[in-house]
Structures are given as C-alpha cells and as structure tokens.
C-alpha cells in the first residue's frame, strides 16, 4: 500500500496552512482513512498546538531522520479521532537539520502505512519549503483574498509547476460581507488571477481562533459550519464531485443595517 503524499503550502505565513492541514487531515480520518500529518516547520512547529498534542511529544521528525528512534515511536495518535497521527517537528533545531532526500524517505515510509500523508509546509520558499515539496506528490496551496497572500501563492504555484506536481487551491478567510461590498476580492477574482483548480473555500470564522486556542480541530464538532466545509474538501480530495457551499448567509452588512434600523 502506498498512500498519497500531499504538501499544504502558501508562501506567505499566517494564511492558515496549519489549520487547513489539521482540519483536512481530521476530516479524512473521520471518513475512515489512515492519515499522518507531518509538521515540516522545524524550529517553529505549531501543528502540535493546533491539534492539542504538544504535551505528548517525546520524539520528533529530526530524531526519526537521524535514526534515534523509529517512526512509530515519534508518531502521536490523536486521542479524539481514530486513524489520525501526527509527526511533530523539532523545536530546538532548524530547517537545515534535514535534507530533501531524507524528507522524501520519511514521507515515503509513512505512506506505506497511511492512506494520506499531509505535510504542513513552513512559510517561505527556502530550504524548509524545498524539503516539504520534495517529500510530496501533489500540492494544496492555501491563500487568503489579500494582495500579498495571492502574490506569494502565485510564486509558490510557479515553483510547484516547475516540479510538474498537480496542485489545487484553498481560499481561506473569505468574508462574504466584504466581498459583497467590494472591499475584498471574491473567490472568482482569486481563481482568475491564479488560474488554479479550486479545492475549497473557507469563510473567516471566529470559532477558529477559539478552537485553535484549545487545541481542537474544528471538524470535531460536526455542528460547526466549517466542519461541513472541511468534510466536503476531504471528499473533493478523494475525487468526489461536491458542490461548493454558498457563503451568502445574511450578510454582515445587511445585518448591521437591519440592526441599525431595528
């Protein structure tokens, strides 16, 4: 068995790579797939925090690569979601600690006993990025509808195309009310500029801040609207054709006006 190796990247930091990795991984695991999430941000690891496993780290990715422990020992099983495993990055080392070849070896090893190996790529396009990309076969580019994020995403897409890897786009933190009032670029705008196939659209949701603080992926609570969105994303990733969720809830703007008058 050999699972799919997918890198989640963006160029710019803080657009939601780690949140996307955690939630997409959790959504796939909830669908019964065996999923390994790999934090490639050596020195600035965060995937462990988002998933709330930071206290359970004994070994990390660098120690696996250096042969100081086995992969199975470093993998942390998520206690809430069956089939979800996390391989944390080292915090006290830096990205030059491992090579592209070592990273490739690591992810191929993981792919032997997981259906999906999802790699959380660090920001930037340097060594850490090259490692993460070297270990994957396909890519998910996360961006937000902001000029700088899109420009960096474009740069990264260029790099991915050079490697002839299939790529799909996730647009994060859309605020439908701002799109409506013309203050934020729409999904169509972003897709047009980046000319990429869409994997998911995620609205900006304050819940994410809260769940991240608590170390719980939002897909755990299936009543949350984002849970459904990540589930659809997971299904699309597996090749299903799923309609995109319409984000046009009663707009913030209309609600203000209504509230103002009422």
């Amino acid at each position: 068995m050999s699972g799919r190796r997918i890198v989640v990247t963006s160029g710019k930091g803080g657009v939601g790579k780690t949140t996307t990795t955690a939630n997409l991984g959790a959504a796939l695991a909830k669908r019964g797939r065996k999923v390994a999430l790999v934090d490639a941000d050596i020195g600035l690891r965060n995937l462990d925090l988002v998933l709330g496993v930071e206290k359970r780290i004994v070994f990390d990715l660098v120690e696996v690569v250096e042969g100081r422990c086995q992969i199975r020992q470093a993998l942390i099983r998520d206690k809430r979601i069956e089939n979800l495993w996390i391989l944390p990055a080292a915090q006290t080392r830096d990205k030059d600690s491992i090579t592209e070849a070592q990273f490739l070896r690591l992810t191929t090893d993981l792919a032997e006993f997981h259906d999906f190996v999802i790699i959380d790529c660090p920001a930037g396009i340097e060594h850490g990025f090259r490692n993460a990309v070297a270990g994957s076969q396909e890519a998910i580019v996360v961006t937000t509808p902001e000029v700088s994020a899109i420009r960096d995403a474009d740069r990264v897409i260029g790099k991915i195309h050079e490697r002839k890897m299939p790529m799909r786009l996730v647009i994060n933190r859309i605020r439908p009310d701002m799109v409506k009032s013309g203050e934020m670029m729409s999904v169509e705008d972003v897709c047009e500029i980046l000319s990429a196939e869409l994997l998911g659209i995620v609205p900006d949701d304050e819940e994410v801040i809260d769940t991240t603080n608590r170390g719980e992926p939002i897909v755990l609570d299936s009543t949350k609207r984002l849970a459904a969105i990540y589930d659809k994303m997971a299904r699309r990733l597996e090749g299903e054709i799923v309609e995109f969720t319409r984000l046009e809830e009663p707009s913030l703007f209309n609600r203000i006006i209504a509230g103002w008058r009422g």
């Binding site: 930071e54 359970r56 780290i57 004994v58 020992q73 470093a74 099983r77």
Partner: protein, 268 residues
C-alpha cells in the same frame, strides 16, 4: 488492577524495551488477558518496542499474528522473541530476531513487590499524579544515555537568570537553577535537579542520566512535559489547578511514576 490472580500474560518494562511474557497454560486465556491489559490503558505502551517471551512452545503463525495485530493496534512493535527451539524457528520464519531462551522469572517475587507497592501507595494529601503517557519511550530514554554518568561530587550547577524561551535548551551535567520563567517550547536537561524560581511551562528533564532521585522544583509547575530519569509525564490541563501555591511545587519519582507535590515548609 493489582488485585488480579497470577498473570497468564505479563507486561513489564526493561532497559531493552517492553517484555511481554506469555505464560504456560491455555494460549487463548493469555491472549485474552493481554488484550484486557492493553485495553485498560490503550495509549500507555504506544510507541514501544517489545520482546515476546514464550514460556511454553511457540504458537502457530496465525496465533502469533493475532498477538502481533493486537500489539500493533496498541502501537507496540514486536522486535524479537525469546523461548525454546520452536520459538526460534517461528522467529526465523517471521524474520524476527531470536534472542535466546526465556529468562527465569519468579512470579511470586513480582506479586510480593506489587503487594508492598499497594501499601505504600498513599501519598501526601495534595499529591497530584501526572498522566504517564509515554511508557514506551522510557526504555529509549534510558538508551539515549550515551555519556557516562558524572558523579554528583564532580557535577556543577548552572545558574541562569532570565526567561528561557521557546527553542532554547539548557543542558548541564549537574543541576540547573533558573531565576525566571521557562516558556513553552523551551527545554531544561540536567543530570541532577532542576529548580525554577518562576513558572515552568516548558519541558524539564531532571536526572537525565538515570538518577531517579532527581527532582524538579518550581514556584509554579505547569510544564508541557516532565521527565525524571527514564519516566515521562505530560502536564494536565492547568485549568483545574490553583494558580498560586505558596512555596512552590516539586516533582519527583514515587512508586515508579512522577508525582507533583506542593512544597510544605519543614517537610522534604
């Protein structure tokens, strides 16, 4: 858990890893008991390497795979096995390491030891046990000791004033004293004791070369992880804890696990 009848299947940690003994008698009972033990603490042994000891003749390949599958589920990797010639041929067939004949084990001794543990289990009133989650890693921590143990008389103390921040590591053959906070993501590693005059939020490893008498003391102890000698404990959710305990808290090994107790003046 301790009041059970003599073990058909026995799990114990050694310096080489986990040793699982399948006693003589009905194979299925042993397996059932092993399953029960694993079920009781599903994550306890996760990540460990195990040697299987067969006291009777080796099981069939199918039977063995049944055990192995069960251990796999609990995150235990079978590395090798011990037993008679039939076990050796089984090991050969499965390309596992054969480690010789089964060591003599005195079950009565073991029960006696456990009995005394029961009696001594009562801890001081405020004692708080941290959930041990890393049994499997213990042996590896022991194996990590590459440098020889420095006698305490030669060990020195590292004094550090200021905040130890994420990503920073203080290592010392001897004791570490920090006047300031130790933040999440920071690591203190000492062959002796660790004392933090401040909040310990990061990771601390006292007695890193195997000194089980080592302690970790801090004014506020809310580490992401504590390690003493070869034991590891994860911090509990800090929410339930009273924030300011006068005089601070101390973590030490009692009953082969890490416990945290408030420091009471005149005691300890």
């Amino acid at each position: 858990m301790w009041q059970r009848p003599p073990h058909m299947a026995l799990l114990r940690g050694t310096s080489q890893g986990l040793q699982i003994t399948i006693a003589t008698g009905e194979f299925h009972d042993s397996v059932a008991e092993l399953a029960e033990t694993l079920q009781a603490q599903p994550d306890f042994y996760r990540g460990s390497l195990a040697h299987l000891v067969f006291r009777s003749t080796a099981p069939s390949v199918e039977e063995f795979q049944q055990i192995r599958g069960m251990l796999d589920q609990s995150g235990i990797t079978v590395e090798g096995m011990l037993g008679d010639e039939s076990v050796e041929s089984l090991a050969l067939e499965l390309e596992l390491e054969y480690l010789g004949s089964a060591p003599p084990i005195n079950i009565e001794d073991l029960q006696k030891r456990r009995g005394t543990r029961l009696e001594r289990q009562a801890l001081s009133e405020g004692a708080r046990s941290l959930t041990a989650d890393f049994a499997g890693a213990r042996s590896d921590l022991a194996a990590r000791r590459t440098t020889p143990v420095v006698p305490l008389t030669q060990a020195t103390t590292l004094y550090y004033r200021g905040t130890v921040r994420s990503g920073q590591v203080l290592r010392q053959l001897g004791n570490i004293v920090v006047v300031g906070d130790v933040n999440p993501g920071a690591e203190l590693i000492a062959s002796g004791d660790i004392v933090v005059f401040g909040t310990l939020r990061g990771q601390a490893h006292a007695g890193a070369q195997g000194d089980t008498a080592a302690r970790v003391t801090a004014i506020e102890l809310s580490p992401t992880q504590l390690r003493i000698a070869t034991l590891i404990a994860a911090g509990e959710q800090t929410a339930t804890r009273s924030k300011h305990r006068d005089g601070g808290e101390e973590a030490r090994i009692e009953e082969n696990r890490i416990v945290v107790v408030p420091i009471v003046r005149g005691v300890s």
